[in-house]
Amino acid sequence: MKHIKTLNTRKLQNTIKKGGCGECQTSCQSACKTSCTVGNQTCEQYK
């Protein structure tokens, strides 16, 4: 595309079909302990 550059190709709507395995890290076990951050986490299936 001439006017648009898309940064990512993985669509969230596709993850609804086979997501939800629950093996991912608990949000608060990372660094924070005082906020909630999930967007920075990596799916366990992608590691």
Partner: protein, 449 residues
């Protein structure tokens, strides 16, 4: 829902429900803002004089193409799936073990009240910790990866029990086909070579508490006699970080109303050589003088922008570092369920006091109305557990129209409770900061693309 913003010279369009992120030129940025409900001709007429007609029509065609591919103006159709997901029988997969309700520092902002959590000083016994690990294994269902954080107070004040529990966990994981991911959060005062060597072998991650510049750190993180802790901990933390090859750790600070210029603290930590840095807003009652105030927000936004731009600059010079709150995984990030179903406190994630009581998370410890049970009898207060089980993005009215809901999962239940007395509300200052951080994180990705 589409969220548009400009940052550091980039025009960014976030399609909230698909997670697609587009970097666009000026004409497209304007076209996206007026696209819905107008024909191509109407858009061309409205933007006439600002851009060449041909450019406008090209941009309209490209925007339409993204819409057709469900990468723009995508609808949020996840509510039913997420609510069904939340109704599943839950298992416990993570524990925050309060290995010591005692501390050798007297940090002024400590939500644990200098380690004691509104209660008495206490150290967890090996027997109680062992029972906690047994409880976790017994309640973890088919989940293989189990997380245990050694937390406090200051966990190194009870290091022998930490060591014994890790040994017990390693023995048990083989018997039950589980894998423990241990982590440790420490203020560093008692760190020594032996503990570092142990942690490098056994701890998936370590969180090292330091606020940044010496004067900032020492004001809020003194010893009980009032002396600052910076000089004592910095050499140890540097050695520790190097011994872990600058991986699988965070130096973790808290910024307050006293250091709203916190980007200087982040950069100070980077200049000390740390590569994994997290500096986060204080959580405090409004009445505290160090609490963040609504009027701090414009300054804090500028600080995040300044930090993000500086990180882009440093990366180009090969002096990059990670800032936890700017990390965002655009390709391998979490699934929709994870993004919308909340942090898991009270269900998948529980905190354990030194005497074995269970709470929904470390921030609720000591508040008796949230006592869930104990590691011997399990969760007996099912009313509180079920309240947490129902906590998700769609249960929070204020999250429904927020672009950030796929990144914060509806925010922190404890922050919400402390701000408004309900776990299904939100903490507004925290939300505003979260939104700003997401924008900065995306801008950094745009700059790297």
């Amino acid at each position: 829902m589409v969220h548009q913003f400009k940052n550091n010279g980039y025009n960014i369009v976030l399609d909230v429900s698909s997670g697609a992120i587009h970097v666009v030129d000026d004409v497209t940025y304007d076209v996206v803002g007026m696209f819905l409900g107008r024909t191509a001709e109407e858009i061309a007429q409205e933007l006439e004089g600002r851009y060449p007609r041909e450019e406008i029509l090209e941009a309209v065609a490209e925007v339409q193409e993204l819409k057709d591919r469900e990468e723009l103006f995508t609808e949020d159709r996840y509510e039913t799936a997420v609510l069904d997901f939340k109704k599943r029988p839950t298992v416990v997969k993570a524990l925050c073990l309060h290995i010591a309700h005692d501390c050798n520092l007297a940090c002024r902002y400590c939500f644990a009240e200098e380690g004691e959590y509104h209660g008495r000083r206490a150290l967890m016994s090996y027997e109680t910790g062992k029972q906690a690990l047994d409880f976790l294994i017994a309640n973890s269902g088919n989940r293989k990866n189990l997380e245990v954080d050694f937390f406090g107070g200051e966990p190194l004040m009870n290091f022998e029990v930490v060591r014994e529990l890790v040994a017990y966990g390693r023995e048990q994981e083989k018997l039950h086909d589980k894998h423990f991911r241990f982590t440790l959060t420490t203020n560093g005062v008692l760190l020594n070579d032996e503990i570092m060597e142990f942690a490098n072998r056994e701890m998936d991650n370590v969180v090292l508490s330091i606020d940044g510049r010496k004067e900032v750190n020492d004001k809020m993180r003194p010893f009980r006699n009032g002396a600052g802790s910076y000089d004592r901990i910095v050499p140890k933390f540097r050695k520790f970080a190097d011994s872990r090859n600058q991986e699988r750790y965070y130096v973790r600070g808290t910024y307050t109303h006293y250091n709203t210029d916190f980007s200087k603290d982040v950069l100070h930590l980077a200049d000390l050589g740390f590569k994994q840095i997290s500096v986060e807003p204080v959580v405090a009652p409004e009445s505290e003088p160090y609490a963040l105030k609504p009027e701090d927000l414009p300054v804090l936004f500028e600080e995040y922008d300044r930090l993000a731009a500086e990180m882009v600059r440093r990366k180009k010079e090969g002096k990059d570092f990670q800032f936890f709150h700017f990390m965002i995984d655009l390709e391998g990030g979490p699934c929709v369920y994870k993004r919308l179903s909340g942090c898991g406190s009270g269900t998948e994630y529980l905190a354990v006091t030194p005497w074995g009581d269970l709470y929904p998370c470390h921030q609720f410890v000591g508040q008796e109305q949230f006592l869930l049970g104990n590691v011997w009898d399990g969760v007996t207060n099912t009313a509180v557990r079920d309240e947490f089980k129902c906590c998700n993005v769609y249960a929070k009215e204020k999250c429904r129209d927020c672009f950030a809901r796929f990144y914060c999962s509806g925010g922190c239940a404890a922050n919400s409770y402390h701000a408004h007395g309900s776990i299904t509300d939100v903490y507004e200052i925290g939300c505003e900061l979260e939104k700003k951080r997401i924008e900065c994180a995306i801008m950094i990705k745009a700059a790297e693309a």
